[in-house]
Symmetry: C2
Subunit: 213 residues, 2 copies
DNA sequence: GCGTGAACTCACCAGTTTGTCCGTTAACCC
DNA sequence: GGGTTAACGGACAAACTGGTGAGTTCACGC
């Protein structure tokens, strides 16, 4: 009953507090979406208080946007520098597809945030030019491998690099995003360890067959 | 001030009211998701009152599930019977892919509801065995075309029909679902009329190359 | 015309959820 | 050690939102 004096001792750590809030917010928004997430819930899972969320991020939208950008930045930072420049085109393309496939699989939180953005007509994505820039990098890498293959003569000339990127993304994204509905309808076999191995092999095979001259 | 007697005249029309509510609910849930949709908003767009929603559907979850099933049923009913049995395998496969592509494009509301379901770990989809059955039909149709092609000798024997179905779905679904985020990041070119024509051509080409012996 | 159950209206509530007021503590400068 | 500013906490307010209680009208059989 009498802890009036004990509660109010704390350290100042602006960056730490902000980071803590962002990590929790990211997880909550990824799980529940913008409308579904609850500020109180986020605050409760934080080391700090709800008041601090408003202190640093203004309002719920501000927190959401910050969490979205943070999610992109964090995942982007975790991208290992894939060493494909010394490879031949087919080999490089295979490595790249496998990398994107694994990358998506191991970052479901980002995938879920993007799903939410799409439900929301990408309203917040549009506000962030920061995020737009991030994505061009992976696009350019693919383009390099493609033209490498075209110069080697193993890939067709008439391939649209944007479509190619779209097609790889479509499959790698769908694999994570629509797993719940697909496995409900057609069983979980595609999503076991063995199933996923088969799947990525198939995607690689399919991509190469599409590209070959 | 004195309209005590004027307001209370109405006709009984249970089916009409239910249908009206469902149509509005479908649109609202598709647009805003389960958490984002507001019962008051749905009620306002209805010819009837909020109380009727609870009268017929119990609670928000009940209404959501009813809207989800109704969305599937309505779209399924609109599927034209695609006449592919007299075609050769390659031709039939192309027709089928184009059909699925167009079908997804012209039913964005259903796509959006499925997106929401996936955000929600397909919780409500799992509850509805009615929906599971619906989807097996399109799966079987694809399987028929595939084995037709294998008997003709034009398609490879080692194709997994579930993966093939998954791959077509992935692209056709992603095309609608992730259009907002993709076009924000990489421009709207893929989604113009011309772009979509190119895209479906590419998907067909890619699918056939994957299948061919 | 009258009884009955289904269909329907209106007003309201209780719990939730975002956001803020106000005061307190830490850190830093002089 | 006094003053200033940034960092922080707790409690409260205002609006929103899902859900309900209680009574009214309709349709139909008798």
């Amino acid at each position: 009953m009498k802890d009036e004096k004990l509660r109010k001792s704390w350290k100042q750590d602006a960056e730490g507090v902000k980071h803590d809030i962002l990590m929790v917010a990211m997880a909550e928004f990824a799980e529940n979406g913008l409308a579904g997430a609850r500020i109180d819930e986020i605050a409760a899972k934080t080391k700090t208080s709800k008041r601090m969320i408003y202190y640093y991020f203004g309002d719920k939208d501000g927190l959401y946007l910050a969490a979205l950008e943070s999610a992109y930045a964090r995942v982007r930072a975790g991208e290992s520098d894939l060493d494909i420049d010394h490879m031949k085109a087919e080999e490089a393309m295979e490595a790249l597809v496998r990398f994107i496939f694994d990358h998506h699989r191991s970052n479901p939180d980002l995938i879920r945030m993007v799903m939410n953005e799409n439900v929301n007509h990408a309203n917040y994505l549009k506000k962030s030019e920061f995020i737009r820039d991030l994505n061009l990098t992976s696009m350019r890498r693919l383009q390099r491998v493609l033209s490498m293959g075209q110069q080697e003569g193993v890939f067709r000339q008439e391939i649209d690099p944007v479509f190619l990127h779209w097609q790889i993304q479509a499959q790698c994204f769908y694999n994570v995003a629509n797993r719940p509905s697909f496995s409900t309808k057609f069983g979980p076999e595609l999503f076991t360890d063995e199933g996923q191995k088969q799947m990525v092999d198939n995607i690689v095979e399919s991509t190469l067959r599409f590209l070959r001259a």
